[in-house]
Symmetry: D4
Subunit: 253 residues, 8 copies
Amino acid sequence: MNPKKIEGILSRLNEGKIAVSEALEMLRTLPYEDLQFAKLDHHRELRKGIPEAIYSPGKTDEQILEIAGRALARDDEAVFTRMNERTFQKLKKKFKSEVKWYPQARIATVGVSKRPSKGKVLVITAGTSDIPSAEEAAVTCELLGCKVERVYDDGVAGRHRLTSNLKQFDAADAIIVLAGMEGALPSVVAGLTDKPVIAVPTSVGYGASFGGIAALLGMLSSCSSGIGVVNIDNGFGAGALAVVIVKNKYAKI
Amino acid sequence: MNPKKIEGILSRLNEGKIAVSEALEMLRTLPYEDLQFAKLDHHRELRKGIPEAIYSPGKTDEQILEIAGRALARDDEAVFTRMNERTFQKLKKKFKSEVKWYPQARIATVGVSKRPSKGKVLVITAGTSDIPSAEEAAVTCELLGCKVERVYDDGVAGRHRLTSNLKQFDAADAIIVLAGMEGALPSVVAGLTDKPVIAVPTSVGYGASFGGIAALLGMLSSCSSGIGVVNIDNGFGAGALAVVIVKNKYAKI
Amino acid sequence: MNPKKIEGILSRLNEGKIAVSEALEMLRTLPYEDLQFAKLDHHRELRKGIPEAIYSPGKTDEQILEIAGRALARDDEAVFTRMNERTFQKLKKKFKSEVKWYPQARIATVGVSKRPSKGKVLVITAGTSDIPSAEEAAVTCELLGCKVERVYDDGVAGRHRLTSNLKQFDAADAIIVLAGMEGALPSVVAGLTDKPVIAVPTSVGYGASFGGIAALLGMLSSCSSGIGVVNIDNGFGAGALAVVIVKNKYAKI
Amino acid sequence: MNPKKIEGILSRLNEGKIAVSEALEMLRTLPYEDLQFAKLDHHRELRKGIPEAIYSPGKTDEQILEIAGRALARDDEAVFTRMNERTFQKLKKKFKSEVKWYPQARIATVGVSKRPSKGKVLVITAGTSDIPSAEEAAVTCELLGCKVERVYDDGVAGRHRLTSNLKQFDAADAIIVLAGMEGALPSVVAGLTDKPVIAVPTSVGYGASFGGIAALLGMLSSCSSGIGVVNIDNGFGAGALAVVIVKNKYAKI
Amino acid sequence: MNPKKIEGILSRLNEGKIAVSEALEMLRTLPYEDLQFAKLDHHRELRKGIPEAIYSPGKTDEQILEIAGRALARDDEAVFTRMNERTFQKLKKKFKSEVKWYPQARIATVGVSKRPSKGKVLVITAGTSDIPSAEEAAVTCELLGCKVERVYDDGVAGRHRLTSNLKQFDAADAIIVLAGMEGALPSVVAGLTDKPVIAVPTSVGYGASFGGIAALLGMLSSCSSGIGVVNIDNGFGAGALAVVIVKNKYAKI
Amino acid sequence: MNPKKIEGILSRLNEGKIAVSEALEMLRTLPYEDLQFAKLDHHRELRKGIPEAIYSPGKTDEQILEIAGRALARDDEAVFTRMNERTFQKLKKKFKSEVKWYPQARIATVGVSKRPSKGKVLVITAGTSDIPSAEEAAVTCELLGCKVERVYDDGVAGRHRLTSNLKQFDAADAIIVLAGMEGALPSVVAGLTDKPVIAVPTSVGYGASFGGIAALLGMLSSCSSGIGVVNIDNGFGAGALAVVIVKNKYAKI
Amino acid sequence: MNPKKIEGILSRLNEGKIAVSEALEMLRTLPYEDLQFAKLDHHRELRKGIPEAIYSPGKTDEQILEIAGRALARDDEAVFTRMNERTFQKLKKKFKSEVKWYPQARIATVGVSKRPSKGKVLVITAGTSDIPSAEEAAVTCELLGCKVERVYDDGVAGRHRLTSNLKQFDAADAIIVLAGMEGALPSVVAGLTDKPVIAVPTSVGYGASFGGIAALLGMLSSCSSGIGVVNIDNGFGAGALAVVIVKNKYAKI
Amino acid sequence: MNPKKIEGILSRLNEGKIAVSEALEMLRTLPYEDLQFAKLDHHRELRKGIPEAIYSPGKTDEQILEIAGRALARDDEAVFTRMNERTFQKLKKKFKSEVKWYPQARIATVGVSKRPSKGKVLVITAGTSDIPSAEEAAVTCELLGCKVERVYDDGVAGRHRLTSNLKQFDAADAIIVLAGMEGALPSVVAGLTDKPVIAVPTSVGYGASFGGIAALLGMLSSCSSGIGVVNIDNGFGAGALAVVIVKNKYAKI
């Protein structure tokens, strides 16, 4: 739309209907967004097919429904994170089969079409309680077009922590590691692989874990190289970063 | 310069040397800054005469000298905050009379010309130790074209705190209040005036003052209305906000 | 010393050297410390018609009802912030049409009469979840006599963040910007306008957002000039500061 | 169970059913838990030529000299970060031309040989004061075999922040963005590119910047996707992560 | 009971049944508590009539009932703080008229007898929401034998803050001041009186009030003299300190 | 180098110079890095009979049931900490008499068999509200094979704090001390005994107790010697550390 | 309304219905809000002879000298706290015998005359390193007219902590207890006496003592009754509070 | 001395010079310390030979010298921790050969005699920079009578972290593990051994390590069992706890 507006100005200049100075003034006084379009829009084109992600908490059900409706109306797609099931049910009731629901990941989508998948992301959790954030990361990767391999603890502290097969590390293009409590697992994994490690501190734990702060500080202070940290419980952010790394690897040389 | 580039594109379009689609493509692929110019540059024009402020700590003397030199070379001006005297001496030695020094405010300027002053800012401190930040605020206001009236404590806790004449409040267009320790003064002042109060927590104090945190939290939690808070010890920010408020009052109806 | 001064005034009055009105004026214009009452009352006169704002949480319904009743009894008005709907219903039931309810802003008022509006405040949110605090700010402005223009995100991260028309900035007398998460929007807005920007960190976000602390620290540390920060989620405080700035602009030259 | 597995391998070797090389391979490809050493060493082989990084503070000059001496003695190499110049001088005096010094980056190396460079990392700073950490990142990348393009602010707040040419983003394989104060720049950059962004909060700033905490929290809470955060001032960590991403891109499809 | 044990040892020594060295050894090997009794018990005698205070949260209803029952059984008394009404009802049901309930203070007592009251404590709140903690302080004073005068805000921010009659200050032996938000009131009061001021930060407020931390830091950093601070919301502690000060004043010269 | 070492062992086995058992022993006694598995398994053998501890919060009932089922299926045992009663009821319903429930400790076990008990652990609480964590510690000790002696406050602040019989200290092999609020009790106990003291800060308290932080910092800063601190409310960790100390004492000279 | 009241007084004076002294008294006894000055001045009269206390850090030597000079010029006195010796030497040089120096307390005074002493304050420290703050408290008490008894640790952790003679407690009117590290001493003392205890956390300690925060939190969370806390290292504040308590005891029944 | 006093009372009772009731009263009114002696002194006897530890920072050289002199005068011994070399030199100069100096541990002792050593403590550091605290721990153990085995990193991050021979673990009676940064090493060690692990967070690191806080929180939140944590950099505390554990093991069955 905005490119149209600019094209209109240029056409009128081309047709001699306005002078150069007039055209310049018109460009100058266009709203910020309109002028800005150039790279930005081009940019958006490149990202085409990547659904928008909406953080659901703090939004009313009505707002969620409207956002979903507008996305579908423009034949677009939307991904809602941290959605509670009650809101999903309303979404389901209204948009029927357009809605998909990933209950462990607390993600709902509307209008999302399949994307060809490229590359593989390994998602590892230190414990069973980290699974919701891990699923948020894994589903994000899958929605955005990466294959995912999951290595989740089965609930017994420590026993399976070190069992991740190194071959799995070798086969991945990026590794997402989630851990609460002391948050030491990303450090251990990064010490064993030369793949990019995305560390997700989780709010799992109690007392001096301080809702993920202990894990966050530990991951930031890690002695291992090759670790990028995202926000506490931010599965979506980890997934998106993994996808960015993987897509750059496969699409860009 | 960038407007020139765009003007050039438009001229070539106007002259029939390029087609509309070519012009559009050229605009689309211009660097971000160039396209963005429109409002931004216009914007800068309005601000003309406002010297750039450079936060000095963390910069080498060489960098400071180069920034000053470049500003003067383009017949521009620069304001350096939190400068130590040693660096000022080097600046003085090199740029001579182009340099002005406000030792209490720890501000040095190069190439700054007088501006007509409009409006009045009242700067109040809770204690003598708040004066360096207060002077940073006051000198900032004066450099940017406001008159300043100073009401500084003479070093005796509490005695002169409530003595500020209400008439001084009435005569000001904006009031900057600096306080360390518990930081209660802005609250008191805002309870007595209907002028905008800019609160500056200072790092004065010890123990549970936590280098200005007690004052900062107190100011943010104030029960009085009409207070905007800036960073701890941020005299420059307070001065700049006061000037923005005053300039809008006088220049814009 | 001051009692002496007052005694002197009284003696001169007693001796017939000055009239009662002169004595009153002399007392009224004594420095604040000497005779605080005068200005304070005068002061209150100037503010006349400004409803009192009561922070509702922590008050029992009975206390709220009593405060409202007393305000109405003295033909006064009251504004209740952060009110829950259940309390509002009790208020409504008792005071009927005297009560107005702004559900998004969570504000209820009793006895508030229209004020002539002057000046315009632009209220911008970074996201949909910031709307409750934004409405608290906007309704506060409207109740206190300013026009408000709202620019609220429609729920899609980032896309509309930069779309605020610069013309809207130009047309405003003060701009309130609300943002949670990293809280970067006020910085961006202040970089694009020379209007006073009032930054409101919101508790929107999770993990390292720490309930608005990340946004608060970011806004306080902003590199842009002309920003005053208020407490986390403090829509009322932002609105009141905007009104103070706007009223001073229009009423006072 | 695992000892059994290993015993089984040994028995078959003993019985001549498999060769030494087969037994070694079998041991090497056992799951991590069973035989951690294998992969680890193999792993180290892959990393061959990557110098060890030693964090210098807290080590005595004697320890630094000994570490350097031992590295050279085994014909190895070592990279020392955060070294002060006084220690470098001692190193220089003892190991002469074996030592290289990158003063802005505060990095000293011994025995480092040229590596063929692959891929390009863009290093961007928000301000001049961020340069030491930026140089630590940049030099790390160069030492580990990546080309680096630097875009450093020239000391004027804000003006050049948004000037980074989008073409530079397109040409990079990974982007390192350093910022102190509010730390908003990585968010802005990540909003404009689909390249992996590595965010480095720096301790530049004062007051509520809290030595990099404001920037750190802001970066973790960023609304933009595709950002991985490292420790405050951790230029080395950022460089190492960038190299891991770039090496995986070029060496591994 | 323990004095009995020691008396027994002494008697046996006196009766020549044991030697001095044996008596000394017996004393030496008595449990800590038994030997310690002397001053401690004497001490308790002096305090006679002061009911024990039990912090109720975290205790089961069964535990509360047992503690109350045991106190009554030994003809003693007990004061329960922060009790919820449900637990009180159980207490009431079981111990009938032995139980007294102070709902605003959330205090329940069993077996408390009247004490002659001495001295007067003034309890002041900054706001209506501070009343629960204020009542906890006031009821504590009354139970322990002091008269109390209450000056509670009626819900309108600021207006009545400074109206406390100075005569009330003069008539009090100690002043308890409760405030949330910025917590400035104790500072103001202490600036106006030479009576001991006990400052109670309350958890009233939001955002940067951080559940009473802003008020706590402000009170600790106060510039006024003569203030002792207690824990956030600690009405009981404030009341007990006031009583200690008042009792020492009247009982001890 | 290490692969060489292992290859050497394999070659010598291949050449018949050593037996399979010798090769296995050699592998087993290689430094940790070379062959981590060995010790680990051996290690697990030594610990045989020690049930696995599963932290229940954050796990779904389904996951709990599955973990319990799998443990029983392999004739193993499992200890679940911080279990709520509702989940226990499901466990009970499914696994019947295999399940044991310690309601105060919030611990459920499946398949745990009696262990011979050795040594004695003294568990002391500062207050009644500390009992849940104390029971978690005590039950952990008992499950892992230590006798426990409990000294719990009966709910009256201070009175019984110093009454712990020193003889009880003498009779214990390790002492666990739990305290909330200021957390001073471990310091007092450690000043009176030469037994190892394990300090458990609890989240009991309010205001500046900050959910156990005050107690935690106090315990870490204690002037008494011989104290090891565990996480806030971490009864299980305290119990496990006590058992480790006691088992080493009795099993290992 | 209040101006009316004052006008009425003035009119009656003018009409000869009341005398000047009556008018002055009427003004003096108006409620605080009406005529704040009166009480304030009267107030200051009562405090006569109490020297002003000036916190020296953050003030230049010139400012200190000027404050001292002005105090002497008006035949007044001044107390400077936290003064360094270098500044004292300048003060000494200029004002000679007018200056007194208390090196351990870091207090300097000018023009202070002897006051008759009343009451006794006991000052106790947990350790030798607490002595500077303890001396600040003790000297403050002595300057303001109280006798002081000092019980300072002689540097051996713990040994003399509990040795304070209970008789000393009985003989004191108020007890100041200073402690760093875990800060448990005030709690212990308050458990042994019924005198008001003023707790001073000191910044003595390291690590998790966090410069006095551990001690501060511990003191605020103390289970003992009758404790008022002042800021970290705030010897002056503790001394002033003790004096207020003592003076009220002796001067006021 | 105090036992003498009590013996005196008993003797006079024995000799019939006083009655039982008089003796009881005398005991009752003895100062706290005197009565308390019994167990406490006995206690001290048991500890005989354990030198007192004095934390040196915050003490003047004069105080240190006096403490040392008094210890020697009573033929006692003293251990000074965190001593700087300058103070040691003064100590050396005055007390000559009585003084021993452990420069890496920053420990000085006077009058310390050899103790027979029992048991072995393993001291492990994660990095070279942790050595000063490690030496403080190790020397403490040696002074108090335990053998020490040191496993210190030689300065290369990660490489030697996992190389600790499991045999060393087996041979130790207690293991002290020091780590800064993320502080993960104690967790790893405790996962590999069933010996008591004493974790010492060190202030080594930068940025989000926050002077040891990251390590402290990580150690407290560790998933491994059998870990007791001491204060940041508290080598002395770790050593003393290790000695308590070891002495109980060998001396007490």
